[in-house]
């Protein structure tokens, strides 16, 4: 029937964008922000970061709409020529692989720490990759359907778990607002960029939308959901733990969940249970990254998409083992943050500028005449 197309609907797109944005950041962002900002104004940084991300999204959308149904890997050649275009594509693929491996590695570390202390991390990681490749080989539609099906579930559970933390919430921990002026808030923008890395995947996915005209709506809703979730998390965690304690916790989110206790419920410790659900979210983010990378490889080379995704499995596995401990993993995260800044803001902005100056635009009429 009509569902057999290779295009994704607007709701699927929204779910895709939000699940690309929320993943491991929910564990790392609070601590990184607390270290950089130092005042209780963490949530203002998150909000500003979100607004900035929305602007970058708008740039990406207007760039993509100039080249209808072409992915980033295809249209960058049209704008900056074959060589620089290929270079950009390769960079983008490497970047997507890096995020993907980062997610899986963090997932593995968390799982090992909270759930399976004696299982080697390679076993955890490899089993996750196998499940992922089962999904990846079947293309974008099942991926979009899975994300559409599971993202609302994980988000709901996350919101519930965080709201349970209101038991230990103290408003005083959030005061004073802007006590040291605006400078600490601006310092907090760098970790937010890392967290909101993922918007640049729109560069690839807009081409597959059924109704590309709704891309702006997608950008707005798809960003609003993760941003509000991050703000909620940051506010509740700051209120529950205070900034000083957040700096000293490895994973403040879990610290918050460990802080409160509801006796007489079926489970007493929510953090492991929450992790089990959040695994799914990290898995989804990884799948999006891997898909983008495999799509890129398939566009650049003569490999089919399936073969490309099998081959990239080796690459992702390799990359995810490179950081030897959590500190290096954190450094990898910072590196990803800066690359993300480049790919979500600098590259699209430059490309849009060049395309606009050269008057490049690919419409349906031109396509049919060409």
């Amino acid at each position: 029937m009509k569902l057999g197309t290779n295009q994704i609907t607007t709701t699927q797109m929204i779910a895709l964008l939000s699940s690309a944005l929320i993943a491991v950041g929910i564990f790392t962002l609070p601590r990184n922000l607390a270290l950089k900002v130092g005042t209780p104004d963490l949530w203002i940084s998150t909000l500003i970061g979100g607004i900035f991300s929305y602007i970058t999204c708008l740039i990406i959308v207007s760039l993509c709409l100039r080249f209808k149904q072409l992915t980033f890997f295809q249209f960058n050649k049209l704008i900056v020529g074959k060589w620089i275009g290929t270079l950009l594509s390769v960079g983008f693929i490497g970047y997507a692989l890096m995020i993907g491996s980062f997610e899986i590695r963090s997932m593995g570390e968390l799982t090992q720490f909270y759930l399976l202390e004696e299982t080697p991390i390679t076993v955890i990681v490899i089993s996750m990759y196998w499940v992922a490749i089962y999904l990846l080989t079947s293309g974008i539609n099942p991926i979009a359907r899975l994300i559409e099906m599971l993202t609302p579930l994980t988000i709901c559970i996350f919101v519930i778990v965080i709201l349970l933390g209101l038991e230990v919430f103290e408003l005083d921990n959030l005061r004073p607002v802007l006590g040291l002026g605006i400078t600490p808030v601006l310092k907090g923008l760098t970790p937010t960029f890392l967290t909101f890395s993922g918007t640049e995947f729109l560069l690839v996915f807009i081409a597959m939308m059924q109704k590309p005209k709704e891309a702006k709506k997608v950008a707005l809703i798809g960003l609003a959901i993760p941003v509000s979730i991050y703000i909620l998390a940051v506010v509740v965690i700051t209120g529950g733990l205070s900034v000083e304690r957040m700096k000293h916790q490895k994973w403040p989110t879990f610290a918050l969940i460990q802080e409160y206790e509801y006796r007489g419920v079926l489970f007493e410790r929510f953090e492991s249970l929450f992790l089990v659900v959040w695994l799914i979210q990290m898995f989804l983010t990884y799948v999006v990254c891997h898909y983008v990378a495999a799509k890129g490889v398939a566009t650049l080379t003569r490999l089919s998409y399936k073969k490309a995704s099998y081959m990239l499995l080796a690459a992702v596995y390799f990359i995810c083992l490179i950081p030897s401990d959590l500190n290096q993993l954190e450094k990898m995260g910072t590196l990803i943050g800066w690359t993300s800044f480049a790919f979500s803001f600098l590259v699209p902005a430059l490309l849009l500028l060049i395309a606009w100056m050269r008057g490049l635009k690919l419409d349906d009429e031109q396509r049919s005449s060409a």
Binding site: M1, K2, L3, G4, T11, Q12, T111, L115, L116, T119, T122, V123, I124, I126, S127, M128, Y129, W130, V131, I133, Y134, L135, T137, S138, P142, R145, L146, E148, M149, L150, R263, G264, L266, F267, E268, R269, S272, L273, V276, V277, L279, I280, F283, Y310, M311, L313, A314, Y317, F318, L321, I322, S324
Partner: protein, 546 residues
């Protein structure tokens, strides 16, 4: 720099890389091969069950001889020769004893033929056309008469219960339909009982089943299309749909698959189901089967297609989704608030029947800290003296429950009760007292068993029960993480699966307001203004008024 070289020199990394790629590639190749197995077409010689070189002539004796040659000399085939009325013309009636209403045959066929008065009808005895005319228009008192020359059709009709009338001087055969055979009366369907709803199930006779459907509506758009399946047995198969609701693409797809199927005998609609389903390697049933006419009617009014086979009360409905497997017609007959709650209960039961034992295994053998301390202590206390790890304990119990269930189904009813009693004693009491299993395990296993019987569709229940074992193994290997992975893999499989082009998880992913009204909850009937969008019906509006 040195660290990188050191990293690159690590053999375990390289080994892992090889493993991580090789296993999926190999299993993908294997599954590809398995899938191709089904598509492989065997070229087989065309079989002629009826010799096609025989033709009907104007000579009665030779015609009777040819029919005898085709059907052989079975004892149940009756050849009756007689003379037509006052005339000396030879006639012959051929039919199968037991498939024909003897009284009607005598009254409506034999009597008028033997006592006919040809003179009145100005019969020209020398023209075969006029004999035929005379027989059709003046003599035989049967409404369903066909006249044909094709010998294989004649033979098929004879064997399916029609009466053949052969007349000397006519190179055609009159096929009279006076069928009657023993058939079951319409009863309450045993496999799908309802508290409230019609006490009527399909029976084995296809014509009666179509009549039951026809009785439910006078909509002229209700259409039955006939097919013949089975190279050798040529069973009648009918698809039922509402012409102005069912989507054309769906209809052509169903027809194409039915025409493509190649088998010599379809014993039950389960054969058809397995031959037309999308993925034979999937554990989920991809076609719904039911013996309730009201369910079929509701389904075809939603724009789905029913496939009915002669000789079985089970009717197939395509396409099917996972949510359909957890719906019961009763959801719509009772009021919406309790039925919505019951439907939610069914979803919970489906989840429990797959995941409950595996959660127990994961908690007890990996994450004792997760459950309340008192409970953990209680479990540990009851497990003192149990010699096996949890997975073995769980497997023991699960397998014995499945054994009991299977024995209960197969045995005659009085013996079945004994099995239940003995099973309850052995499993409930003796196993615990002997220290083989812990009492909490017994609770877990029985709760799981009960929730697996909640599923309104038997075949969906079986699927969930088998999935439970996989889930238990993954929990035994990787604990909660394993369950999470298994859940993901299950979701991925469901997401990839399609039934006649419709994603199996619809409406779980198709975020349509209309379809969610009838998914986890069953909202009041007045809110369901449109037919479910998931089947793409041609006529979407169910209620005009807002």
């Amino acid at each position: 720099m040195g660290r990188i070289i050191e990293f690159l020199a690590r053999t375990d990394v390289w080994l892992g890389t090889i493993v991580v790629v090789l296993v999926p590639v190999l299993s993908a190749l294997l599954f590809k091969k398995l899938k191709e197995l089904r598509r492989k077409t065997n070229v087989r010689p065309k079989q002629h069950f009826i010799p096609s070189n025989i033709v009907l002539t104007e000579k009665l004796t030779s015609n009777v001889k040819s029919i005898k040659a085709i059907v052989g000399d079975s004892s149940d085939i009756i050849f009756r020769q007689f003379k037509l009325g006052n005339d000396n013309r030879s006639c012959s009636i051929v039919h199968i004893d037991g498939l024909v209403d003897a009284q009607q045959l005598q009254q409506a066929v034999l009597h008028p033929l033997l006592h006919g008065k040809q003179a009145k009808s100005r019969l020209n005895l020398f023209r075969s056309q006029s004999i035929k005319d005379y027989l059709l228009n003046h003599t035989i008192e049967v409404s369903d008469i066909k006249v044909t020359k094709e010998i294989d059709k004649v033979a098929r009709q004879l064997l399916s219960g029609s009466v053949l009338l052969l007349v000397d001087g006519l190179d055609e055969v009159l096929i009279l339909s006076v069928k009657k055979w023993i058939s079951r009366s319409v009863e309450d369907p045993i496999s799908e009982p309802l508290v409230r709803g019609p006490r009527m199930g399909f029976i084995e006779n296809l014509r009666d089943n179509t009549a039951i459907l026809r009785r439910m509506t006078t909509d002229p758009n209700l259409t039955f299309t006939d097919f013949e399946v089975g190279e050798r047995t040529k069973k009648q198969l009918t698809i039922a749909y509402i012409r102005d609701i069912a989507n054309d693409e769906l209809l052509t797809e169903v027809k194409r698959r039915i025409e493509d199927l190649d088998i010599d005998h379809a014993a039950e609609s389960g054969y058809i189901e397995q031959l037309i389903e999308d993925d034979y390697l999937s554990i989920f049933p991809q076609v719904q089967s039911t013996e309730r006419p009201d369910r079929v009617m509701a389904a075809i009014l939603e724009g789905r297609v029913a496939i009915m086979l002669d000789g079985t009360p089970y009717v197939l409905i395509a396409p099917a989704t996972f949510s359909v497997m957890l719906q019961s017609p009763e959801d719509y007959y009772e009021r919406w608030i309790p039925m919505s709650l019951i439907r939610v209960l069914r979803y919970i039961a489906a989840l429990l029947s797959v995941f409950l034992p595996s959660f127990y295994i994961a908690f007890v053998s990996f994450h004792q800290g997760l459950i309340p301390t008192d409970l953990a202590l209680a479990i540990a206390g009851t497990r003192v003296g149990v010699p096996f790890p949890t997975i073995i304990e769980a497997l023991l119990m699960e397998v014995s429950i499945e054994l009991l269930r299977e024995a209960g189904v197969r045995l005659p009813k009085p013996v079945g009760q004994t099995v239940g009693l003995v099973g309850a004693l052995i499993i409930g009491e003796a196993a615990v007292q002997a220290g083989l299993v812990s009492p909490i395990m017994v609770i877990v296993v029985s709760a799981t068993a009960i929730s697996s019987f909640v599923s309104p569709q038997y075949n969906a229940g079986i699927a969930l029960r088998s999935l439970r074992f996989l889930s238990m193994f993954s929990a035994a290997l990787l604990g909660l993480y394993g369950i999470s992975l298994f859940f993901l893999a299950l979701c991925i499989h469901a997401v990839k699966l399609k039934s006649f082009g419709l994603p199996y998880v619809t409406p779980g992913t198709l975020y349509s307001k209309e379809d969610w009204k009838d998914f986890f909850l069953r909202l009041p009937l007045f809110t369901m203004r449109k037919r479910p969008a998931e089947y793409y019906p041609k006529d979407q509006v169910r209620r005009k008024k807002k």
